[in-house]
Amino acid sequence: MTTPIPLELSANGAAHTLAVDPRRSLADVLRRDLGLTGTTVGCETGVCGSCTVLVNGEPVRSCLMLAAQADGTAVETVESLAENDPTSGRLNPLQRSFKENFALQCGFCTPGFLMLGTALLRKEPTADRARITECVAANLCRCTGYAAIVDAVEAATRTGDAFGPEDQEQEGADA
């Protein structure tokens, strides 16, 4: 175990100050230190995208980011989507659209697709089917065959809803 390093980040609007082993991934810190277990981990090599979260508004693979690299960032996870309360609040329009379109089966990939879709809908609220398919191709699903996921995101473009804070528009120039 190497020396823990200080880490400050906001997760779904809540500020956290932690000390973490530098080798811990953002995914593990979200899941195990912050109890945000909605973010699932499927491959740990950045291929499957099930661990996709938003960091400063951009979708990232939280398995391919050390928690240390998230210092000073704002992280959003699937738990931020439902209105008011993650466990009991009303599902947001994208979540509802997934349900109405049978866009999930085992549900393990679902948080990643929801966050990927959220990022897309914020930037391109009227994205067409081809664009949505390209976006959805970033992540893997082993159950649905994807068509229903594309349907769900496409249907959400027609709800006219905003999918999050307007001020999330930040260029992904940091690395």
Binding site: G38, T45, T133, G145
Partner: protein
């Protein structure tokens, strides 16, 4: 009573959409330790020694074990025996004993306070291995006698399903067409890797296990025997599972190690498999090499089929035993009229990851082999491939049709209505003639476009399952059954079946899956059997509840039980809506003296067990239109369609979802997915960057049509099982479309049709063209 047949939204979705799923890794127990398995880095070796000292000395490490710590423990048994084959010498121990048989074979287990530390410690376990020659080809290696299994052959056994005088048929047949075909090594690879949590409560002397799926009751029995504790001391609890596809939930070495170490240390133990482990340690599937011959008469009628296959079972025989071989062999003749058939499958060990069942086991293979040979035959005989199938499909006049075979002990009765009618109807719906015409015109313009179809024979639903349905004093209905939630929507479907009986809303029913304290026995979720067998058990249990409710309500209302009708969660006198009691009121009354009887459980509780004494044989057809890029060999699917006879759809949207998802998995096996090995037996696909699932951008629109023309005669719901029909015919249809696109005179040779292989096919075709 309108819950069945309706595409109600899924009960599972709300929690999953919130990130509030109950996957095994969400189980966090106080004091929990993390298991890390140390795996063999070589494919075949004698174990000369294992030094765990450095690992055990690492701070944070609690325990390190090897096979020596499991001395005397039996090996992992098979779920289903296969008459005439003794699997004993080939069974896998929980930790490799004496020899390792594949890269990934567990050799030691490390327990630590943290997963990072556990992995650090596993790195420190030093293995002294003496490498032995490897065998990587089932057909070539079938006669080997590896020194790691003294006195035993690599050939585990041969499964043979034959009828009629095949050799006589072939000796006199006017036409014989033969093909050699291979199917690659694939796996279901669910998105959530495997995992398990076990906790031993020393005071209660009970073990709780979270994360078992597919066959929890079988796994509980095996765990009890291997650990030497009673079954009733083990409580298996349901969890969500991130996909199964036949792979997850079998009893693997880790399924013993986790509870064993919980018992040994007295602390909760968690194991979460990582992706690379999954790709080398969880069951692989499908790798088979086939020789098939078809005999025809002058009028293109199939006279017989001869098939021989070599199944690469990997380093050990795992729990499925010979199921894959049996399903390959028994259904080889497909939906065709055929007087004689011989189909043999040789099961051969190699030094690769052991194999098991993967969605449509055996059928992905036999449908590919038979249907591709049919297209080859059509060319050779000079008949249209659609017509050749039409001539030979069993029709309404011949069904039900008994094959003179027994599969898993049950007679093989094809119980459909009309295979020919299905094929004709689905081609019409999808406009397959138009697809063919489009492809022909594209070829005239120099494009490599082709079409292919395949008719498939499926099977579903054997064995028994049980359910308990109870209604409490609040009127709450709970269904407990022996299936597992692997994403297929089982909670929703079981709730629909119960809701139909009680005339309540589906979402008001609570479903508990495979909780061994609530339901004493269940069979699990596999083989497209959950709705057929488990669903019927739920129906029977609900009927029992209603029978009791009827008797109690009749007493409460002072009326004849036969006059009572179920309406909106209550019973009322027919035609007198005011004379009514709710299920909750009935339940409350049923605990009171007038309604309690010796020998009968008090309350509103029903227990149902349903035994399907034969399998049902659903059927369908697959269609593909594909284009090959002449510059890269890449195959692009332009169109795809599947039709499937479901008998009766409890939730049509979920049936479509199964078909589409299954088809896309099949496309993976046809075009992208493979586990290659190098000459030393090193696995080369160890990440999802190497083992390529289809992505959204790789797929055409998948059209699906469900037919409900032929309710299954064998069960009261008439359902046929939906899980595998989408997968079963994809290899066949895609191979036929590519063969058509390239105008091959021979076969495609092997699946998957990776671009470099397609390139080679194109070149060999050019060469053929040059020499003729």
């Amino acid at each position: 009573m309108n819950a069945i047949g309706v595409s109600v939204p899924r009960l599972e979705d709300d929690r999953l959409l919130r990130g509030q799923g109950r996957f095994h890794d969400e189980i966090v127990r106080p004091g929990q330790l993390w298991l890390r398995v140390v795996r063999s880095p070589v494919a075949h070796a004698r174990i000369r020694g294992i030094d765990v000292e450095a690992a055990a000395a690492l701070p944070g490490v609690v325990d390190v074990i090897t096979a020596a710590d499991l001395a005397g423990m039996p090996r992992i048994p098979v779920r289903q025996p296969s008459p005439g084959i003794d699997f004993t010498p080939y069974l896998q121990p929980a930790l490799a004993t004496g020899f390792v048989q594949y890269v990934g074979d567990p050799v030691a287990a490390v327990l630590a306070e943290d997963p990072y530390l556990a992995e650090d410690a596993a790195d420190l376990v030093a293995l002294d291995l003496e490498e032995l020659p490897v065998s990587l080809d089932a057909r070539a290696g079938a006669t080997l006698r590896p020194e790691s299994r003294p006195g035993e052959s690599a050939l585990v056994g041969t499964v043979d399903f034959s009828y009629g005088d095949v050799d006589e048929v072939f000796a006199t047949a006017p036409h014989v067409v033969a093909a050699d075909l291979k199917v690659g090594r694939h796996s279901g690879t669910p998105l959530e890797p495997r995992g398990l949590v076990a906790e031993w409560n020393a005071r209660a002397r009970r073990m709780t296990v979270w994360g078992a799926t597919k066959v929890p009751y079988f796994n509980r029995r095996v765990t009890a025997r291997m650990l030497g504790i009673a079954e009733h001391q083990i409580h298996m609890l349901e969890s969500d599972a991130g996909g199964s596809f036949g792979i997850r939930g079998e009893f693997y070495p880790e399924d013993l190690l986790v509870p064993f170490l919980a018992l040994r240390t007295g602390r909760p133990v968690k194991w979460t498999e990582d992706r690379t482990e999954h790709l080398i340690a969880a069951n692989h599937a499908r790798e088979q090499e086939h020789r098939i011959e078809l005999a025809f008469d002058e009028r293109y009628r199939l006279l017989g089929l001869r098939g021989e296959a070599w199944l690469d079972t990997g380093g050990y025989i795992r729990t499925h035993g010979a199921v894959v071989a049996a399903l390959t062999s028994a259904l080889m003749s497909g939906p065709y009229r055929m007087a004689a058939c011989r189909s043999r499958v040789h099961i051969v060990t190699t030094n690769k990851t052991p194999v098991g069942t993967y969605r449509a086991p055996g059928r992905f293979q036999h449908n590919f082999v038979r249907e591709h040979a049919m297209d080859l035959a059509a060319d050779r005989l000079g008949v249209d491939p659609v017509e050749l199938r039409r001539i030979n499909l069993l029709d309404g006049g011949e069904l039900p049709h008994r094959r003179p075979l027994h599969v898993f002990g049950a007679p093989m009765l094809l119980d459909g209505k009309d295979h020919l009618e299905h094929f004709d109807k689905s081609r019409e719906i999808f406009g397959y003639d138009t697809w063919r015409e489009e492809a022909r015109r594209a070829r005239e313009q120099g494009r490599l476009v082709g079409t292919g179809c395949a008719v498939i024979l499926e099977k579903a639903g054997l064995g028994h399952d049980s359910a308990v349905v109870d209604v409490g004093v609040t009127g709450a209905i709970r269904v407990a059954m022996g299936g597992a939630n692997v994403g297929q929507g089982v909670e929703t479907v079981m709730a629909q079946i119960a809701a139909e009986e009680f005339d309540v809303r589906t979402e008001s029913v609570t479903v508990v899956l495979s909780d061994t304290d609530i339901l004493a026995d269940g069979s699990g979720t596999f083989a497209s059997r959950t709705t057929v067998v488990g669903g019927t058990a739920v129906k029977l249990a609900a009927e029992q509840v209603l029978a009791k409710a009827r008797r109690v309500a009749a007493g409460l209302l002072g009326t004849d039980p036969d006059r009572l009708v179920v309406r909106d969660g209550g019973l009322e006198a027919d035609g007198e809506p005011g004379r009514r009691v709710t299920l909750g009121e009935i339940a409350a009354a049923s605990f009171a003296p007038p309604y309690v009887r010796t020998g009968e459980e008090p309350g509103l509780i029903g227990r149902g067990t349903y035994l399907a004494d034969a399998m049902t044989y659903p059927y369908g057809a697959h269609y593909a239109q594909a284009e090959v890029d002449p510059g890269t060999g890449a195959v692009k699917l332009l169109r795809y369609a599947v039709s499937y006879e479901i008998g009766r759809a409890v939730n049509p949207a979920l049936v479509h979802a199964q078909l589409v998802g299954g088809t896309v998995q099949g496309i993976g096996g046809a075009l992208f997915e493979e586990f290659p090995y190098d000459e030393r037996g090193m696995p080369l696909a160890t990440t999802l960057g190497d083992y390529l699932w289809p992505r959204a951008s790789d797929l055409p629109e998948i059209r699906t049509e469900i037919f409900e023309d032929s309710p299954a005669p064998g069960n009261p719901l008439g359902v046929r099982g939906a899980g595998e029909g989408g997968t079963a015919g994809v290899g066949a249809a895609v191979a036929n479309a590519v063969r058509d696109a390239l105008r091959l005179t021979g076969t495609v040779g092997a699946l998957p049709l990776l671009p470099d292989r397609v390139m080679t096919l194109m070149k060999s075709q050019d060469d053929d063209g040059a020499t003729t």
